[in-house]
């Protein structure tokens, strides 16, 4: 063997071949590497489905819409500040914007405080004390989050509704106790019902954080002579701050985009928030105003999430690694153990049992809650006298079944698309042949997370309500519902797709490639089979959340495309309280059962589905 010694001058990299040659080579490689093409397809798809609607709604906000040329004094299609002026500075802007904004803030703050108190308190009870039945409580107190968010508002109406809005009055009124408007509608009931829905959120986030705090940190402070109160103030609270701020911002973000509760409890008393205002503008066909409102909601949503990410980054340096002792030591409540348990039970009762039982009872009695008037008519009757729009029990006639079938179809397909696209995004990102493509996909697939669902739906309407180029008008089609539902759930599925693919790495696929497998064979025999589990969770989690979804779909459904959720709201509009309640119970039952089964089967925790 000849000895090759190092050349006299060290080899510097040769000048790269001419650009054209490299391009030819590159294309040759790409021909065998569909990842690049796939990445490109995903980029176009996401740009169209995620970015384009936002651009469209922004442009609608600043362009004269058809029919508004007289008011705006400009030609339709011209750039204008008219809608901005109308929303922010005109005579009706108080009604259109400032009042709903204020109401939204009031509700956001109120709900957050409510959820913090209950959620934080319960989190402390179940993670740090020896309250009896803590395991059970920890699971039971999360149940409210598995119910559609406006379940509570319907239950509230069943209890407190007065004769101000049409339809059947609530339990108290039926007993002859007059319920004042402030108790039946408006800020207070909205705050309480939303708070009951969102406190599990705080419970999970804060509970996780509490579990991670190392008891030794507290112990060392105690040993150094700090009294218990000081320990809490100086050690525990600062360590909890990231979780708390995260919980606060997430709850605020959700409240900002929630539609059902403020619609059910606010509208009868003309109590408007931004989301219901947006809905009304769309319904009134004031597209320009709606676009401005949607833009405002988007901006607030983006600010909230950015603030959260900012805070998280700053707080990261606080992260402490839990020691072994973290779980073992629970504070002894001594004689307060049972009272504490009673408190937990009370929270469960108020947030789960009372609403569910109220709804159930209301659907089986003619006079609210009066068992002497027991009837199954609202569920099974062939004919319901007096109900013109829905003259039979919910299980009779086609409406409920059609809506259920639509829900299943739309949400099922959307979840499937979501899971597959999420996994493919993960695949392209991890293969990393084109870093720019990967970065784009990563960021854009996360974008819908920043945008409250109702605003995103409005944005999609801007883009898809009219025919544009080769794409026909999609308003009123199930296709649009599926698209929007899939896109809004994409952040979760693409994140989990990226996580799953990162964990797998590229080597299993490369090994298959070396073994002679073509791209399709690799996908079919290696990637998808290995990611089967991730794919199933990727379908099931969006499915559960999509089934309960109202804010996103409320503006996109028409009479032909009712879903269970919109059907229930429609029944509320008609004043058919019992029927609306019955439909919500059906949704609650399905979504609760599915969540429970999923947790059982996949051992995934609900927490991973919350807030990403």
């Amino acid at each position: 063997m000849a000895v090759a010694t190092k050349a006299e001058t060290p080899p510097s990299p040769p000048p790269p071949p001419p650009r054209l040659r490299r391009l030819v080579y590159r294309l040759r490689v790409l021909r065998h590497e569909p990842t690049a093409a796939l990445g490109l397809i995903l980029v176009v798809l996401l740009a169209y489905l995620v970015v384009a609607p936002l651009v469209a709604v922004l442009s609608d906000a600043f362009r004269v819409q058809y029919g508004d040329d007289v008011h705006a004094g400009q030609q339709a299609g011209e750039w204008t500040g008219y809608y901005l002026w109308r929303v922010l500075r005109s005579q009706i802007s108080g009604l259109l914007f400032w009042e709903p904004l204020l109401n939204t803030l009031v509700i956001a703050v109120g709900t957050t405080l409510f959820a913090l108190v209950i959620g934080g308190g319960m989190a402390w009870l179940v993670t740090r004390t020896n309250v009896p039945g803590r395991k059970w409580l920890a699971g039971a107190l999360v149940v409210p989050y598995m119910l559609p968010s406006w379940t509570f508002s319907l239950a509230w109406l069943s209890l407190f509704k007065n004769e101000r809005a049409g339809g059947q009055v609530g339990f108290l009124q039926a007993q002859g106790i007059r319920t004042p408007d402030w108790l039946a509608y408006g800020a207070m009931p909205i705050i309480i019902t939303l708070g009951l829905h969102y406190y599990p959120f705080v419970l999970l986030l804060v509970g996780n954080a509490l579990r991670r705090i190392d008891v030794q940190l507290e112990d060392s402070a105690r040993i150094l002579g700090a009294p218990r109160r000081t320990v809490v103030r100086r050690i525990v609270v600062p360590l909890m701050l990231p979780a708390l701020s995260s919980a606060v911002l997430l709850v605020v973000g959700r409240v900002l985009g929630t539609f059902g509760t403020p619609y059910v409890l606010g509208l009868p008393a003309d109590y408007r928030v931004l989301s219901t205002g947006l809905f009304q503008s769309i319904r009134d066909r004031s597209t320009g105003v709606a676009s401005v409102l949607a833009t405002v909601i988007v901006i607030i949503g983006v600010l909230i999430v950015f603030t959260d990410m900012r805070l998280m980054r700053e707080h990261r340096r606080f992260v402490t690694v839990g020691g072994k002792g973290a779980m073992d030591r629970l504070g002894d409540l001594r004689r307060w153990r049972w009272p504490a348990f009673a408190l937990g039970l009370l929270a469960f009762g108020v947030s789960v049992l009372v609403p569910i039982l109220t709804l159930l009872l209301s659907t089986v009695t003619r006079t609210p809650m009066d068992l002497k008037t027991f009837t199954l008519d609202y569920w099974f009757a062939e004919r319901l006298p007096g109900a013109v729009g829905f003259p039979h029990g919910v299980f009779r006639g086609a409406e409920m079944w059609e809506a259920a079938w639509n829900s299943l179809r739309v949400v099922g397909l959307a979840s499937l698309i979501c899971a597959v696209v999420g996994l493919l995004v993960g695949y392209v990102v991890v293969r990393g042949t084109a870093p720019k493509v990967a970065a784009f996909l990563r960021q854009v697939s996360f974008l819908p997370y920043l945008v409250p669902g109702i605003a995103f739906a409005a944005a999609s309407l801007s883009l898809f309500a009219v025919a544009r180029g080769p794409i026909p008008a999609l308003y009123g089609t199930t296709f649009l519902l599926i698209l929007v539902m899939a896109v809004t759930h994409l952040p979760y599925s693409s994140r989990s797709g990226i996580a799953a693919m990162t964990q797998l790495g590229v080597e299993p696929e490369e090994a298959a490639q070396i073994a002679g497998a073509s791209w399709w064979q690799r996908m079919r025999r290696i990637i998808f089979p290995i990611q089967k589990g991730a794919l199933v969770t990727g379908v099931v989690l969006p499915f559960i959340s999509g089934l309960k979804e109202l804010s996103i779909v409320i503006m996109l459904t028409t009479t032909g495309t009712q879903l269970l959720t919109t059907l229930s709201i429609g029944l509320v509009d008609y004043g058919y309280t019992q029927l609306a309640n019955a439909v919500v119970l059906v949704i609650a039952l399905v979504s609760f059962t599915m969540t429970y089964l999923t947790q059982r089967l996949t051992k995934s925790s609900l927490a991973s589905g919350i807030g990403g």
Binding site: M1, V3, A4, T5, K6, E8, P10, P11, S12, P13, P14, P15, P16, P17, R21, R22, V24, Y25, L27, R28, V29, H32, E33, P435, G505, E507, P508, E510, A511, A512, Q513, I514, A515, G516, A517, S518, Q521, R525, I526, P529, I530, K532
Partner: protein, 371 residues
């Protein structure tokens, strides 16, 4: 049987940095070549380029007359059509397939009929002694077994080029020895051309027919193992190959000029007395070439040394010495009867001289002078 040629191959992952710079390398037909070098020197990158998993920024890669990559001529053969075998550093077994299915996969891709596939897979598994675990899943195997399955998966398709990326690095010492022997046997039986990546120089010296030492993306030397040991091309190879590493003493002191006292001066004087003036910039002595006691016949270089420490290591003894102004290590394979503070004679007949660029000028070995 194929030989692999890389000519003018460079690879940049973007940015100005090159993971591999202008590599010219020929792996001869039937060779067992080790790519040896410190972490991050571009060994894996080179291997992956040969496999086709990574594309060079410039240059040509060919097996025999078949060009696999040529940026200049716009030619490319995808990995699945190269028909090579590759064992990944962490095995990359498919978790959802049983051991048997893992091994059969390549054959399935080649549309081999089922009975033959079965037979071939079993034969490959028998060869690496994991045929008993055939129906288990990768997660149910020990690290060593997984490694063997990865090997069997590659062998089942009977490729003529085998690429292995540090396949033994995760094994315990005993299993590693065993697998080294196994790999040598496989090499001899199949006659395949093997490229084997390692940063363990002992592994390279014991297994390879040829060693290519790389550093910072450049080929430093390509030679047979003992050749590499006896005539390291430059200071880097001299220090990297051999354990414990060669001591290299700079002749030019930091202040410039030429010292007339000290170890370096003493070694230089000796070398120049043998070959005439040669002005080396550094002189290297391997610890195992440095002997203690009186030299046999007054040949070689000798100097007095103070013993600073004696470190027994089972079969050998490492002695830390102070020779003139310099600390040196000597390795002895016979017991050393000395205590710290003792003064002994030390001597050697082997040394390597390097010029100012770090290139070896020549080596002395007894009476022999090797260019």
């Amino acid at each position: 049987m194929p030989n692999i040629t890389l000519s003018g191959v460079a690879k940049s992952y973007g940015g100005g940095d090159y993971a591999v710079k202008n590599l010219d390398l020929t792996v001869p037909d039937g060779a067992f070549m080790c790519l040896l070098g410190p972490s991050g020197c571009g060994k894996t990158t080179t291997l992956r380029m040969i496999a086709g998993l990574e594309q060079p920024t410039s240059g040509t890669i060919a097996v025999d007359d078949r060009i696999l990559d040529s940026v200049e001529r716009g030619l490319y053969v995808p990995p699945e059509k190269r028909g090579m075998g590759l064992v990944f550093q962490n095995y990359a077994l498919w978790p959802h397939l049983s051991v048997r299915e893992n091994v059969e996969f390549g054959l399935r891709m080649r549309k081999v009929p089922a009975p033959e596939r079965r037979a071939k897979a079993e034969a490959a598994l028998r060869m690496v002694h994991v045929d008993a675990a055939m129906d288990r899943y990768p997660s149910q195997l020990s690290g060593g077994q997984q490694q063997r399955v990865a090997l069997a998966r590659m062998l089942a398709i009977n490729p003529s080029v085998l690429l292995l990326d540090e396949p033994l690095s995760n094994l315990d010492a005993r299993l590693r020895l065993e697998m080294r022997a196994e790999l040598k046997r496989i090499h001899e039986e199949s006659g395949a051309t093997i490229v084997f990546v390692t940063h363990d120089q002992l592994e390279a010296l014991t297994m390879a027919t040829d060693i290519a030492v790389m550093n910072e993306g450049e080929l430093q030397q390509l030679a047979a193992p003992m050749e590499m040991y006896a005539r390291p091309a430059n200071r880097f190879v001299a220090e990297f190959v051999g354990s414990p590493p060669m001591a290299i003493i700079d002749v030019v002191p930091p202040g410039g000029g030429r010292a007339s006292t000290g170890l370096a001066a003493s070694l230089t004087r000796f070398a120049e007395s043998r070959v005439g003036p040669c002005a080396p910039a550094a002189v290297g002595v391997r610890p195992e070439a440095l002997r203690l006691g009186t030299p046999p016949s007054g040949a070689g270089w000798r100097e007095e040394a103070v013993v600073e420490a004696v470190l027994p290591a089972g079969s050998s003894w490492t002695v830390r010495l102070r020779v003139l102004d310099t600390e040196l290590y000597a390795v002895s394979y016979t017991p050393v009867d000395a205590a710290p503070g003792d003064v002994l004679d030390c001597w050697t007949e082997q040394m390597h001289l390097f010029d100012a660029d770090g290139i070896r000028i020549f080596s002395l070995d007894g009476a022999e002078v090797r260019a």
